[in-house]
Symmetry: C2
Subunit: 446 residues, 2 copies
């Protein structure tokens, strides 16, 4: 009952907007987050990787894709690959991939849109009785956010061979807890036996639909971002050590105030990034002992630095390593300590938690997306698309190191992401899913 | 078998140093904290108010003082008053008081020395079969540290009528938890029925022995500080609200970064305090949502400001209220934002958690301490004592508002306190306890 397609048949394949939105909102009942509006869909998401809610979303993904005729494979990282056979099965599948985990105060679209659009692609292929040349697949990658286990794009990184499996399995939760990634994989029943590797689960290509998470498409009234690459970023944990002392009896001269030093570092990293046209951000800060009348002797903070060019990130890192050491030692750095009372020195140490160099996507995939957008958007396509570089990391970063890869962005309101109010209109979601579908079937025939 | 005493008998009363140190170290097994040395006594304390460990220390206090012939009274704040009858019982007791609770990473002397020295006083009076003119007592005050429930000197403040009982009972733990002060009092069995009030449990006077918690006695080779008063201090919670957003896709212009604003506030409060010769400290900082790649939309921090004069604290408070609002709004304040990229405004709000004006102790009590020090230290007394003002708050602050009060300080190594390494030598502890004993018996006869 299936058929081969010509160019016209191919263009006639259409995603079902309502069905796609139903999948997004239906699956959002697992890990519903902050309420921000009155409509039932106006809540954020809080579906940390490998939580109970994530397990339910995974179960849905497995059941749904199996019901659509896919074979599902779960690897040692809990990555779930759903593969729909093709006319010929002597070549690897063309994959659509993204992630079902979210930030602790995330939205309904980041990652979720990409996976549900992949499922919608499978439904459209089934609706139209389409047989692709080669298999096509949809993959749900584990712990893309890096919000619970502190390496982003973790499991595509293991698959591509860039992050050792042992490192990934041993990762501990960011927030004081005892769980490791592997203990949580076991607990929810998603510790597979297939090696997490591009050799064990090969791909012909990887396409990913994602919300932009920035303001450019919306502010220029475009519908589709043709993503040509991803900026570089690195994550560090910075540990500052001073000495606990009494806030009422210890004069400033005799303090080694780890929090005051950390405050200077946070401010200074912002100044250094400004100077280099880069970004620097601290999202986590824990201190000890945490008492109103005790000066903290120990502070640990995350640092996330980004820039389009690896060389900029290199320079910013060098600035930060040098200047934080001087700040900790109590030296004056660019006026940061002006007006302060000199105190006793603190110590600072750094751990590099992850490194993601700048990435350029594959011209064949970019071409497939461009053609797909032309087909989906019609004569206005050129005005409604733009080429862009992603500010955020995505699993496509790691897949691109092994197989042709590219991404499709859709606008999100006010550029807001990693926030419960993250929002992309149903129309924009559907256009994105349509371009994704078209890109995959086109690539399959290439 | 008891006797009245003349001046010579009185001077012959001697505390037992070994017995005192045994009580300190024996009771430190309840809530033992960080190990910092190899000797069994070289650990800190972590005995938060109304914890299970605190309950055990309280039970010891009740049993020990009852065995020494005291009647014990527990009030609605869990304050424990142990009263030893006098020759005449038509006047209120002269009290020794301090606290058995500690900081989360505290030492073995802060508060504990004061209570155990009170118990040692009872033991000496029993050894020598002394009957005092009027009753004498020892009180263990609840939650002096303010480390678990965020008002320091809480229960002496209720006793003196300066903090409402309802406010105190409703206080919640500083660190996310569900317990209130009254639920914890009930839980450990120390919610008494006697009103927490200077009218229900009157005192003739209140004497408190404490470690200095600062470096002055040690650095000038003195043994005893004759404390004439306590500096002013105030505690606030500062809430900074911005907006969660993605660290990789949100440029600095579009961020309302609550942590960057908080970092500027911490640094600026230090500068303002430096300018006014005052102190400003942040010991607690919590942020949300707490993810490496999400700019925090919400930060809450403690602020503790202190100065000898109330007027200085007034001015510093005014500076801080005005400047923090400007910093949150994104205005430039004394160069704090130099080199920063202007972003979107945050909001800031303040809660005043506690206010402790500057205090002067009572001349009669100061006189009794001076005489007691002369008796304890002999001809060298003048060289070995100094008058001083306390940088830290103590329960004596509140008792002084209702009854004649003063304090005795002993040196502590390197001025370190609120730290596991807090240390006072056995000899210095004993000299302090001796002065305390002498001050009480002298005051009793005045
Ligand atoms: N898309 C996304 O939010 N990925 C998380 C990795 C990052 O922080 O860029
Ligand atoms: N003595 C002491 O540490 N008291 C706690 C109250 C304060 O912070 O000063």
């Amino acid at each position: 009952h299936t058929k081969e397609m010509n160019e016209k048949d191919l263009a006639s394949l259409k995603v079902n907007q309502n069905r796609l939105m139903e999948d997004i909102h239906f699956t959002s009942k697992w890990g519903t987050g902050q309420v921000w509006g009155t409509a039932p869909t106006e809540t954020g998401m809080s579906r940390l990787s490998l939580s109970d809610a994530d397990k339910k979303a995974r179960d849905w993904f497995v059941e749904t894709t199996q019901a659509l005729g896919c074979n599902t494979t779960i690897d040692e990282m809990g990555n779930i690959f759903a593969i729909r056979p093709g006319l010929r099965n002597d070549g690897p599948p063309t994959f659509v991939g993204s992630h079902l985990d979210t930030q602790p105060t995330g939205g309904r679209y980041d990652g979720i849109l990409g996976v549900t659009a992949g499922v919608e692609m499978l439904k459209v292929l089934a609706d139209y009785w389409v047989e692709t040349e080669y298999p096509v697949g949809v993959v749900n990658w584990t712990n893309e956010e890096g919000a619970r286990f502190p390496i982003s794009m973790l499991s595509s990184g293991v698959w591509s061979g860039h992050i050792p499996l042992s490192t990934a399995h041993a990762l501990r939760e960011v927030h004081p807890g005892t769980a490791t990634l592997s203990s949580e994989l076991s607990r929810i029943g998603y510790l597979g036996t297939v090696p997490a590797s591009y050799e064990a689960v090969p791909m012909a290509a990887h396409f990913e639909l994602h919300i932009e998470q920035g303001p450019l498409l919306e502010s220029t009234s475009r519908k589709i971002g043709i993503v040509k690459g991803v900026q570089a970023y690195r994550w560090y944990t910075v540990n500052v050590t001073g000495q606990d002392c009494h806030t009422g009896t210890t004069d400033f001269e005799n303090r080694a105030d780890a929090l005051l030093a950390a405050a200077k570092m946070i401010l200074h990293s912002h100044r250094l990034a400004t100077k280099r046209g880069a970004l620097a951000s601290t999202g986590i800060l824990n201190l000890k002992p945490g008492s109103t009348n005790t000066v903290p002797g120990s502070v640990s903070l995350s640092l996330d630095i980004r820039a389009p060019a690896d060389s900029t990130v290199d320079m910013l890192e060098a600035d930060i390593l040098a200047d934080f050491a001087r700040i900790a030692a109590g030296e004056e750095v660019d006026g940061i300590s002006e007006g302060c009372t000199p105190g006793r020195p603190c110590e600072v140490s750094f751990t590099t938690d992850s490194v993601s160099p700048a990435v350029k996507f594959h011209p064949d995939c970019i071409h497939a997306v461009t053609e797909a957008a032309a087909s989906a958007l019609g004569p206005e396509a050129e005005k409604l698309t733009m080429e862009m570089v992603s500010g955020a990391g995505h699993d496509s970063v790691y897949t691109s190191k092994r197989v042709p890869t590219s991404m499709i962005f859709v606008p999100c309101r006010d550029g807001i992401s990693h926030n419960p109010r993250e929002y992309t209109s149903p129309e924009d979601c559907a256009v994105g899913a349509q371009v994704l579908l078209q890109a995959v079937v086109r690539y399959d025939r290439m």
